[in-house]
């Protein structure tokens, strides 16, 4: 079985405490709001980033799969610099600029709720839970753009089997790290932190549902949700919760962060559906990142093109009502 090596961060890469504190003071002094407020002017000026330099780390061993072989990959640079990760700021380039503050190592994930016995698992143990594999998935953002990303990870089902949920477990809830020191965007109540997401048990067990720990054959960059994130390719991108610290099995349908923020616009299912518009914009088409300035929008596919695999999960459901 493949045994991925855990990247050891050389001490030269670790930000000295004094520098780190100084940066915190600067952030506090400047006020995160003011910094972002200045983004209006940053339309003209390139913004200075206070990101720590992060070295790219290859994942030693993972299997190839046929998923998405026919797709053209979105450039690594675009995948890692055009992100929605509000914990690091609401601008698309904020995560790449600020995610250096996140320390994805050491990391533990606690598993609780409707299971035989609550557990915690370190990221090292989690990586050994199942063989890693590469899967190329389309990712469709609720904002109307999409990417094609070669993820490295394993099916969430493997972790669920290991967790041994009881018969009462009908849903799975996921929780992101809540630590404004590492996630400066959390200093602002844009969302009700921590970020949470949820899946129905059958969705969570579906073989397409991935726990990703890497992309492009490398350890997941912080801005993409290090050290472990969810990837549900037939749902809008925000369902793919990042930097997971808690997985809870529940009897009741969990309320996600976006449902809390605006239940009229964001539902629990959030399946990609070109026939059901966002209340404020159309979902019929999407712009593929990398297509360039003079490219046409593409037609959005039902369940993001994964209808054959997941359509049966929703038979008999009114997808207009359960959006």
């Amino acid at each position: 079985m493949a045994r991925p090596t855990i990247p050891h961060i050389p001490s030269s890469e670790i930000t000295p405490r004094t520098v780190y504190d100084g940066r915190r003071d600067f952030l506090k002094a400047a006020g995160f709001g003011l910094v972002s407020g200045a983004a209006i002017m940053s339309g003209l000026l390139p913004s200075a980033s206070h990101a720590a330099q992060i070295t790219r780390q290859k994942i030693e061993r993972f299997g190839k799969t046929p998923y998405g072989q026919e797709e053209t990959l979105t450039l690594y640079e675009d995948v890692t610099t055009y992100n929605n990760f509000y914990e690091f700021g609401t601008g698309k380039s904020d995560p790449a600029a600020n995610a250096g503050l996140l320390k994805p190592h050491p990391w533990t994930v606690s598993i609780e709720g409707q299971i035989k016995k609550p557990k915690t698992i370190t990221i090292e143990e989690l990586l050994r839970l199942a063989p890693l594999e590469e899967r190329i998935y389309r990712m469709r953002c609720v904002e109307g753009w999409s990417m094609v990303i070669p993820w490295v990870g394993f099916p969430l089902a493997e972790l669920i089997k290991w967790a041994e949920p009881t018969g009462n477990a009908k849903f799975v809830e996921f929780v992101t790290l809540n630590n404004p020191m590492m996630m400066p965007g959390q200093n602002l109540a844009v969302l009700d932190w921590p970020y949470t997401e949820g899946l129905r048990m059958d969705e969570a067990m579906h073989l397409l549902t991935l726990l990703a720990v890497g992309l492009y054959g490398e350890v997941l960059p912080n801005q993409n949700g290090a050290p472990v994130r969810l990837v549900v390719p037939w749902k809008y991108g925000f369902k793919g919760i990042k930097s997971i610290v808690k997985i809870r099995f529940t009897e009741q349908m969990p309320v996600s962060a976006w449902m809390k923020a605006n239940s009229r616009e964001y539902g629990f299912y959030s399946n990609v559906n070109p026939a059901v518009d966002h209340p404020r914009w159309s979902q019929a088409t999407e712009r593929r990142i990398g297509d360039g300035l003079f490219a046409r929008r593409r037609k959005t596919l039902m369940f993001n093109g994964y209808a054959e695999q997941v359509g049966q999960l929703y038979t008999g459901m009114d997808l207009r009502k359960y959006f």
Binding site: E77, R287, L293
Partner: protein
């Protein structure tokens, strides 16, 4: 003097467009270039609009006349960037698919509001010449008050587009409220001074004089 100011403002107002052209040629528009171009042009439309609206308060507060003499140019740059913003949306994003565009306008309030603001700008741009100012007389002032409504629509357009973080549209809204607030405060004060007489005709005369003076100076 005013000629130098005008030339400077003219060149400065072209920088956002030149910057976009430079970035486009240098492959510097980022991962989502279409969105970048549309957002940037929208932002600069709003900035030009607020700068146009800032000229009267500037004149009132600083007691100088040059702001009024560049106000028309800024207004026309607002229209210029609004046209480019709309063109980028219709062309780059929608590929001139008129059915999709009209559906977008009818179905989505933020698009409708933005499009209404654009439609309202057209008569203002058309009647911006000195000949039209003279021809319309008193009505010119009334017509051009539409810019206040356009300002509100433009901010609402931005506000409704944002997914969750409303700080930036809020900032623009505050600037707009400030600029309109100064006018209201000034009007109240001058009304109190004149007593029962409405002050509007006075304002019209001075604005007209400035507008005409504007032409004499030319660019």
């Amino acid at each position: 003097m005013i000629k130098k100011v005008k030339i400077t403002v003219f060149i400065l107002a072209l920088i956002p467009l030149l910057r976009l052209l430079w970035l486009a040629s240098a492959n510097g528009l980022g991962a989502n270039p279409v969105e970048f171009v549309i957002r940037s042009l929208g932002t600069w439309t709003l900035v030009m609009l607020l700068m146009t609206l800032a000229m009267t308060p500037l004149r009132l507060l600083a007691n100088v006349s040059w702001p009024i003499q560049i106000r028309r140019m800024l207004g026309l740059f607002t229209f210029f960037y609004a046209c480019l913003h709309l063109l980028a949306y219709a062309g780059l994003d929608q590929w001139f698919d008129w059915i999709a565009i009209s559906k977008d306008i009818v179905k989505h309030p933020y698009v409708l509001v933005g499009f209404s603001a654009f439609l309202l700008l057209i008569p203002l741009a058309i009647t911006s010449s000195n000949a039209m100012i003279k021809r319309l007389g008193y009505h010119w002032k009334t017509l051009h008050r539409a810019i206040y409504l356009i300002g509100v629509l433009a901010v609402v357009h931005y506000w409704w587009l944002v997914k969750k973080d409303i700080r930036e549209p809020l900032l623009y809204a505050m600037v707009l409220v400030f600029l309109l607030g100064i006018r209201i405060a000034h009007q109240k004060r001058s009304r109190a001074r004149v007593g029962t007489l409405p002050d509007a005709p006075v304002a019209v005369t001075t604005d007209l004089q400035h507008a005409v003076a504007n032409n004499i100076n030319g660019l």
